[in-house]
Amino acid sequence: MIDKIVPSAEAALADIPDGATIMIGGFGNAGMPTALIDALIAQGASNLTIVNNNAGNADTGLAALVGAKRVRKVLCSFPRQTDSWHFDRLYRAGEIELELVPQGTLAERIRAAGAGIGAFYTPTAFGTRLAEGKETRRIGERDYVLEYPIHADYALIKADRADRWGNLTYRMTARNFAPIMASAAKCTVVQVREIVDLGGIDPEVVVTPGIYVKRVVKVATTLRKAA
């Protein structure tokens, strides 16, 4: 019997080694798997490479991981925000590396990894400093930049519902990077609000099929949502 449900976030992350590359879902706080990140901080792995759209907001979630100096490098599109003080401080001190990637290129590089694509040409960033040093090619009337996939050892994501096979649905814009990150990592760990019986998710509405998911953890939700 396939059962991907694990009893705790601690158990789900126990084998993450120092130096791992970890994708973390979320766009700001929407979709951020905060319980998994807290467990990762407690677990102690360091020298991590993190892939996220941002580099942490305020003092919780990814910001706390960065603030705890567990992160060697961040790949993201938008590190600088009014409340990104942990990243800002370490970046200015030269203690964290940044690979800045345009948001759509970040998404497509993640998607490409999950879909077995070796590289792709995108028009984004052509003629800008974010394309410096990269191969370019004129195809038809347009210029393109060659970009490579981003693979990860782990993806930590948040979903709304799961079954024991790891089929997932999401809520609203919390979906953001989660489905593509799930496909791009060797081991995808999901925190969910609710676990339902097999068959409890309409197959027509499954967003992430369980083939991409290794471990599912139910987390007591503190979701602040409209009544």
Partner: protein, 216 residues
């Protein structure tokens, strides 16, 4: 001359967004356009984080942390709206499916080069988000900005001195002084605020402008 304030500028851009358009409104000034879209027109607002049919800000107390706009502020979804993941969202952008992207800018060049992501200053932490994707992807890229910097220099320039977001990507510039189309043969002024002459706009702008004023 009567410079447009931020709301008037937003209303001026909104007036030109037609029925049925799919449009992305950039973070900052362009976000204001949503409040001024003409009632009675069905216009679908795209948000990079995975929304078509973005609605207005929710009432206090009705926020949902799972539903935000691209600026990470609480948002709503209009009836008929849809959610999708990030690769789909940017595929939509790069794949030329959006009719308009409205972006803020530090500078726009005569050739339509756009600089809006980085001042290039020493010690500044760069952040780009989806700006470069929108600049190359939307069918029409509209820029919305103040015409002059705080110290009175034109933000429309011969060549951008700030790092580029995209080359030759801007189609039209809306400022608090004028509406200017970027064409292969140069900049065409199509609208001026009340009390501003073409000659005065030319003097303030510095780079060569062509007069193509249409009836107000």
């Amino acid at each position: 001359m009567k410079k447009l304030d931020r709301k008037q500028l937003a209303a001026r851009v909104a007036r030109d967004i037609p029925e049925g358009a799919y449009v992305n409104l950039g973070i900052g000034l362009p976000t204001l356009i949503a409040d001024h879209l003409p009632k009675g027109r069905e216009i679908i607002v795209h948000s990079e984080n995975g929304v078509l049919g973005l609605g207005p800000r929710p009432a206090p107390g009705a926020e949902d942390e799972d539903l935000t706009n691209a600026g990470k502020e609480p948002a709503t979804l209009i009836t008929g709206g849809a959610y999708f993941h990030h690769a789909d969202s940017f595929g939509m952008i790069r794949g030329r499916h959006l009719d308009f992207a409205v972006l803020g800018a530090f500078q726009v060049s005569v050739a339509g080069d756009l600089a809006n992501w980085h001042t290039g200053g020493e010690g500044d932490i760069p952040a780009v988000g989806g700006a470069m994707d929108l600049a190359v992807g939307a069918k029409q890229v509209l820029v919305m900005m103040e015409h002059l910097t705080k110290d009175g220099k034109s933000k429309i320039v011969e060549r951008c001195t700030y790092p580029l977001t995209g080359a030759r990507c801007v189609n039209r510039i809306y400022t608090d002084l004028a509406v200017i189309d970027v064409k292969p043969d140069g900049l065409h002024v199509v609208d001026l605020v009340d009390g501003l002459s073409f000659e005065e706009l030319q003097r303030l702008t510095g780079v060569s402008l062509k007069k193509f004023l249409t009836a107000a």
